[in-house]
Amino acid sequence: MPHITAPDILSMDDDVREQYERFRTEHAHFDELRAVLVRFPSALGAVDEMYRQIMNEGHLGRVLREQVFVAASVVRGCGYAVAGHGGWLLGSGGLARDAVAALEAAEDPASASAPERILLDVCRKVAAAAYRTVAADIDRLEKAGWGRHEIVEALTVVALSGWMNGIAAALGLDGSDAAMAAS
């Protein structure tokens, strides 16, 4: 049970309820977190828009973005986000169960390419302590073939996971609802 409960769906303004239910119907996960954010509709709008942009658009593939999200959330110990995004990788992402299990154990999936492993490694480091990132980390990424667009995209996924992890932790959310589905 979250530290702060969600408002009754009947008490929501029509436009907020519509926004809340649209994502819920389409994606069927993170319902508990989004339901509490109904208390602050701008935050609900922010999380939906950030997901739409950062997880769906750009140069990196969606499956890799999701892996970065899970890897960063594992570092921060956010079971809620790990369950939700791990569920997506298992379902819609088409990743094998042992690959997701590896990510959950802070390891690289056997299916990951060498450049992907370097990307995951640097992203884990950033998630653990962003201030410790050094020029050599960026050099590693560039030598592995990642361009600046892709590096910045990956870091924004780590940033978004930080936002989500912080809110989930503050609300006392565990993985029970996040694991609900994978769409």
Partner: protein
């Protein structure tokens, strides 16, 4: 110096470039975060939803949300985010520098409302990965009269820092905030 060079302004989509130039006109300096995020147009678009709607709507006043953001950024040691928004508190909301430097620590202060200080402490705890937020922490905030809607807003303001600090710290944006670059007013 930032670990990745900022993209050339001429290569940035006009809409994003206008945001950067508009900010520079208003604040006397470019927004290095937005400029760096211009490498990723989706991230630039996402940050539009992240900042203004969250800081300028809701039940908590913007000045308080800015203080929560600054306190959370201080907790994470992000000089860029803490410095930029501390500056905003002085220039836009009329606080003096000394007040902001004290208040963002969360220490008891006779010039900071105790109910607001409780929110500052919550924001710092949310921003600190090492400190789990408990039900008792939330209950303690409620005892100071804050409702659940307001507490969710405060948590969101702290979470903003986890987004922006990640980019600023990982790419060393703070290294460009130097007097020779015209950033002598940061603190």
């Amino acid at each position: 110096m930032a670990l990745i060079p900022y993209p050339e302004l001429e290569t940035i989509p006009a809409e994003v470039r206008e945001h950067i130039e508009h900010f520079a006109r208003d604040h006397g300096r470019p927004t290095l975060l937005r400029w760096m995020l211009a490498w990723s147009p989706p991230a630039s678009a996402a940050v539009d939803a992240l900042y203004h709607p969250v800081f300028t709507t809701g039940k908590l006043e913007r000045r308080l949300k800015e203080l929560l953001f600054v306190a959370a950024s201080e907790q994470r040691g992000c000089f860029y985010c803490m410095g930029g928004h501390s500056r905003l508190l002085v220039h836009t909301f009329g606080y003096d520098r000394d007040q902001v430097e004290r208040w963002r620590t969360g220490a008891e202060d006779e010039e900071l409302d105790e109910d607001e200080r409780v929110l500052v402490l919550l924001a710092k705890k949310v921003a600190d990965d090492a400190q789990p937020v408990t039900e008792a922490d939330i209950a303690a905030v409620r005892e100071h009269g804050w409702g659940d809607d307001e507490i969710v807003e405060a948590i969101t303001a702290a979470a903003q820092s986890m987004w922006t600090n990640t980019i600023a710290q990982s790419l060393h944006l703070e290294d460009d905030v130097t007097p020779e670059n015209g950033f002598d007013d940061y603190f």
